[in-house]
């Protein structure tokens, strides 16, 4: 067994952490809106959110390459603001991963919010809690399992991301060469020792995280009704 490629591992954890944070921040209001809206557009938004679940990463990666084009609108805007292209950059990977892992954050949050009884929120409102106040003191604590599941799934899914990164990353060490890409290269070049080292770390970590979620969910069963 060879020493694992720690720079790829560290890069991947940074990416997964940042993506999870962003997804919780933008996912919470979006999921709350989806859980409470009465608009007829709801199925459209739900379908868009769920798209990355069914689209092959190659489709996503191909479209992202086109969107990231520095001579097109979004890629050009990014270039003029930051001086760097979205493709082949850490920022680009963050954006790609946020899109790719979006359903893994939205769906658990939405179903958690949906099970918060309307009456509870009305009671909070009648006690003159502002909607934001009611959300943070009533809905959020009741949805703690939803938050945990969303965070863990987003993190783990980003950790395991491969196809999209392969297409838009450019495999730059320390910048876009994440762990799955490193493992892929090692396997392709028959460096099985290094591949084993990284794979084993990933396997052990993923198992530990999932175990934690299941144990936590068992202990902290939140009863809504």
């Amino acid at each position: 067994m060879t020493l694992p490629d720690l720079s790829a591992l560290w890069l991947t954890f940074r990416l997964a952490f940042l993506v999870t944070l962003i997804l919780l921040i933008i996912g919470t209001p979006l999921a709350w809106w989806l859980a409470n809206t009465k608009t007829r557009l709801k199925p459209v938004v739900e379908a868009i959110v769920a798209l990355p679940l069914v689209l092959p990463p190659t489709v996503l990666g191909f479209y992202l390459l086109i969107v990231f084009n520095p001579n097109a609108a979004i890629g050009g805007f990014w270039l003029s603001v930051t001086g760097d292209t979205l493709a082949f950059s850490f920022a680009g990977l963050v954006i790609a991963s946020v899109v790719y892992s979006l359903p893994f954050a939205i769906q658990p949050l939405q179903s958690a919010f949906e099970s918060v009884a309307e009456g509870v929120m009305e009671a909070a409102a009648s006690l003159r809690a502002s909607p934001l106040d009611a959300f943070f003191t009533v809905a959020a604590p009741l949805s703690v399992r939803g938050f945990l599941t969303a965070a863990v799934l987003s993190f783990a899914h980003t950790l395991g991301e491969f196809g999209v990164v392969l297409m838009v990353g450019g495999a730059i060490p320390g910048e876009t060469r994440v762990v799955s890409i490193a493992i892929y290269e090692q396997v392709e070049t028959l460096r099985y020792g290094e591949a084993h080292a990284l794979s084993l770390i990933l396997l052990a970590f993923s198992f530990a995280v999932l175990m934690f979620v299941y144990v936590f969910n068992r202990r902290h069963r939140v009863h809504v009704h």
Binding site: L65, F68, A87, L166, M167, A171, E185, E188
Partner: protein, 251 residues
């Protein structure tokens, strides 16, 4: 036997009658992706002058190699390097001495947004990204590194590299303008219409080791007439003309 099966039985018998006396055979040919559009044309020429047929599949040389080692039904393998066919031969999975170089890949520096490109562009450093195939994974990546070293451009290109898994991906990076320029295969450029191709420059052959692509008949195809006929055709003047027209050299 139930009446319902009768038509099938007749069909099956018919099939036996039709196929048994025919001499035509069928060979499965696995080809490296960079050669796919070339082989499509060679296949048409081959089947026009032969009763035999070939069935072509394409993929990366490394993956086809792994599939063959794990028992994939392949009669002829057209790799993008010499290493994999050599290994198959050494391991007894290929017919001894059937290995030969069918094409020599040529590298091209491609810059679609410009009217002219060349080593001066690389030296000038007035670009953000230079895409090359990953030298660990692809022979075109190794060749690109050699050209850069031969031209003494290591410092000028430092920190500008982005790596594609293969030349196909490098092509996509440049085509979508995410990288301004990149080292691709000349054969890829020649499949594009000339008016959208933009500028390219082919480094002199002495700047990099020839990208020799070897073919080999696999053990499964040892007694397959179609496999042998196809490999012979691949060496013929007709096939060589097609191969060269697609931007490859031949031996």
């Amino acid at each position: 036997m139930a009446k319902i099966f009768r038509p099938f039985l007749i069909c099956a018998l018919g099939a036996v009658v039709v196929t048994t006396p025919a001499v035509a055979a069928e060979a499965r040919v696995a080809v490296a992706t960079n050669f796919k559009s070339t082989i499509d044309e060679i296949e048409i020429a081959f089947e026009a002058q032969s009763d035999h047929e070939i069935i072509v599949t394409s993929g990366s040389t490394g993956k086809i190699y792994a599939q063959i080692v794990n028992g994939a039904p392949v009669d002829v393998f057209l790799a993008a390097d010499q290493e994999r066919p050599r290994r198959l031969e050494a391991g007894g999975r290929a017919v001894a001495r059937s290995r030969f170089t069918y094409a020599i890949g040529r590298l091209a520096l491609w810059e679609p947004g410009e009217a002219e490109t060349g080593p001066g562009r690389l030296a000038g450093g007035d670009y953000r990204r230079l895409a090359i195939a990953n030298p660990d994974l692809a022979p075109y990546g190794v060749a690109a590194r050699q050209v850069i070293a031969a031209l003494d451009l290591d410092d000028a290109t430092e920190g500008k590299f982005v790596f594609g898994e293969n030349v196909g991906q490098v092509f996509a990076f440049v085509r979508t303008q995410n990288a301004e320029l990149g080292f691709v295969a000349l054969s890829q450029l020649l499949t594009m219409p000339a008016d959208v191709r933009g500028a390219y420059w082919t480094p002199p052959q002495d700047a990099y080791d020839p990208i020799k692509q070897d073919a080999v008949i696999l053990a499964r195809g040892a007694d397959n007439e179609a496999a042998h006929a196809f490999v012979e055709f691949l060496k013929s003047d007709g096939a060589v003309a097609i191969i060269e027209r697609f931007g490859y050299g031949t031996e």
